[in-house]
Symmetry: C2
Subunit: 552 residues, 2 copies
Amino acid sequence: MADNRTDKRLTAKKDLVADWNHLMRVFLRPEDDASRQTLIKYMEQMLFGLHEFLKKHVGITEAKSLKELSEHFMITEISEDPEKKLADVITCLIKEIAPHAVNVASPYFVGHMTSAIPFFMVHLKTIVAALNQNVVKVETSKVVSVIEKQVIAKIHSMIYKRGRPFYEKHVQDTDTTLGVFTEGGTTANLTALWVARNARFAPKSGFSGIESEGVPSAFAAYNVDRCVILASRLAHYSLRKAAGILGLGCNSVIPIETDADYRIDIDALKETIKQIHAENSRTCILAIVGIAGATETGTVDPLAQIAEICNTHNIHFHVDAAWGGPTLFSKEYRHLLDGIQHSDSVTIDGHKQFYMPMTCGMLYVRDPKILDVIAYHSNYVNRRGSVDLGIRSLSGSREANSLILDCALKIMGAKGYALLINHGIETARAFAEEIEKREDFQLVTPPVLNILTYRFFPARTRERIAHADMDEKERINSALNVINRDLQRLQREAGNSFVSRTTLRQNAFAPCEIVVLRTVIMNPMTDIGILREILDEQEQIVKNHLSENLPE
Amino acid sequence: MADNRTDKRLTAKKDLVADWNHLMRVFLRPEDDASRQTLIKYMEQMLFGLHEFLKKHVGITEAKSLKELSEHFMITEISEDPEKKLADVITCLIKEIAPHAVNVASPYFVGHMTSAIPFFMVHLKTIVAALNQNVVKVETSKVVSVIEKQVIAKIHSMIYKRGRPFYEKHVQDTDTTLGVFTEGGTTANLTALWVARNARFAPKSGFSGIESEGVPSAFAAYNVDRCVILASRLAHYSLRKAAGILGLGCNSVIPIETDADYRIDIDALKETIKQIHAENSRTCILAIVGIAGATETGTVDPLAQIAEICNTHNIHFHVDAAWGGPTLFSKEYRHLLDGIQHSDSVTIDGHKQFYMPMTCGMLYVRDPKILDVIAYHSNYVNRRGSVDLGIRSLSGSREANSLILDCALKIMGAKGYALLINHGIETARAFAEEIEKREDFQLVTPPVLNILTYRFFPARTRERIAHADMDEKERINSALNVINRDLQRLQREAGNSFVSRTTLRQNAFAPCEIVVLRTVIMNPMTDIGILREILDEQEQIVKNHLSENLPE
């Protein structure tokens, strides 16, 4: 293992001195052929050393448990002298670390929203690191800030389709902003609600705005007692976190029931709005969030209907399309997101279905001036009127991930991304059919996009539950929950494949919470054959390890 | 230029089809030698193609102005078909984009906190991208989460030195957290104040906490009207942004005057606290922020004295050491940060003086339980009791930058980093002496760490101002401000070297705001010879272009 105590032996200690000459060497760009070849050799070792590993198992736990693993990483002193040379660090990463990481690139890894990425993404990330531009300001990024504005306009036009004159005006306009890169979906959602909050409690006579004066003063100035956000109960937890951070309280995110298709129940939404307005005129509905690809079920809320409601009541309409956004590439399936063009803001993650490396989020806004409500300036940077992208942004310093997206769009084309989207959705549908064919499994949430949930639920138990009373139903479901939890764990620990699990609170099948297995089909190498193998393995696991726990 | 319209000619269009076979090829790991060599060739081209460019000019503006540049980036439609092959994208990045980016690696680029980084950092970033782990949860990171906990403990022990038993207990404890990686310093500062806010307005009988219920309810529950944060007027603008986001209002960050050495004035701080307590018992002082390396001047607040004040009044003590944190590596200079070990939280940026690639921030906390106040859980991830690093974190999904820091510490050793720190501070001191030797320049803020500010201010004008009345002083200073602003711009536009500029509000030299030139010495290749050249160039620029504007 990669323990400092043993690894030191790897290296001839005499080379490991920290002096000025050694230091200069790591900063100097190698000029002679020999040094260049060494550098390239390292890069080759990394890329192909990892390839070997990544071809193999999923490796979530392998032989070593996390507890055992962690015992090798206990030293907390920073060594005074260097411990390792780059060559040894790379060897250690490949031989000792990678085998205990998770092979998210495996086509058998279908449990989370992380998968194989095209190899050129690694090249692009490398160039971004080598250029080391900081897009907070034009003085440390120049053309890269300009490219970022362009790529933002490209994605904006895919979402909002506001027409050529609109984009010609705004693409390079330094006074307007069509969107902003963020660390990830969580901070994109936070930025969206931050913008909605500041726009709603804007400066007015005698009040300099919520950003300056804080929530209590804003509520007083606007005669408001409470400020709520409405979203389906399947909304991502980052919305609650955002409301908590923004000083509105995470309890102010009110979960709305879902319908039989796991979409926000429009009647329940309308009823909630009506109740809020009837009960207390001092409660303000800040935003309604529509989900385009729920994390747990992949379902899409009826965005057009939510847009209409928001329009009627003048409420900020945010769409969390962190997952589903790139569905817009697909001619066949983009209709699933219809209504997104009427939103005020949209979250999309680059590291999800744009297949970019970790981490990249984005927020898009329909109104090119709305991001002004979060603008900050300072003396040495982000001066008024400058191109500095840090002016309207949660982040300060920030790497140029926009360059990766820009290049990826050119290499893939919309059609390339569409192929990936279509493959995911169609493979998920085939998988759903397969699940329904097998008598020991129950499809719980059919795929709308490329995510579905199911559970182990043998046919004879299903028959039994059909005739059971409430207590009996609950008892059987509890037993099933235990089995499915164990099943997921045992499969994960075996290390051949990985599905995740979650708990659905509201569903047509049971009066109580049910534990389900969740699969996300985004790796183009994942085909129906692999998914059948995963089900086969699950049947075997139940047969070999869990059959005694089956409910009578 | 990198215009889509012209670049298309580069490529044989027939190759650019998006079909399933082409798509598979970008996901498949190349097995045959020929494909592997192609991949390596790309990587070589990127690394050394960039080297050539990066050796050259600083290139902030070069011949092309930003406005002209932006005219080449106006197209906002995403092409249906692929536009370019990877080879062409790389060529374009090297030949068309990089020359219009900023060469932050040049030793003549001394204007911002971005510089050359050791070449191995690019290798490490590449491996992080290739592994594509997501450290929000152990199911997508496994050993990498364990390594992150270890490296956090290492830096924590450098700051807080809490002794071996403490670290043995906490390094791999899944119930405690010594720190958290963030996107950058801005989100680290935001996290710090978020934690302070939630700890101050904790749940109590009849109140479920500020995170759940929001700021107005919290103020009511705790009998508070206003909640302020005290920091020197040189504090980073991200603190105001954080207070704004957190619902406290950015106006609640109260700027405290600085002393003659540009450190927070302790008497003024005490006086402010006294006034707040006297005026209104319903104003709560949430936090005092000490700066360890002010962005504009590099100055360090008297941390030990602030710690004492915070201790007396039971106020959260946050240290913004985004810049200066790694000074702790240096035996010679770590005393400058004395008192940091008594803080409640510390911000440090990885992409600053740890010389990591953009972007990496960190927050450290003395109390291993305090981050519990920002914990979020969900059904499918971040379950209670798990190792999932996303539980106590502003971010959701997140790349494994901790792996880069861990490797860098091993390659550099504390001594390697200390050499860089010492070089920066000592070169800045030599530069200060050089400035004082030249009769046309005035040293405005001497270097405490490795940042200083100065301005063009000819000796004869200095003599004049000494005998001038207030109005005359203001007039002369205004003229100097114009000259220094123009000087910085002209030097930047010439593209040989780059210093930044800022405006200092409070200083010993003038009754009004003064424009100063600012240099940050972090590149080990920047030596006193280069800094002399920069001053020579500035003298020439004034002589050739600005001499007419000199105040009489």
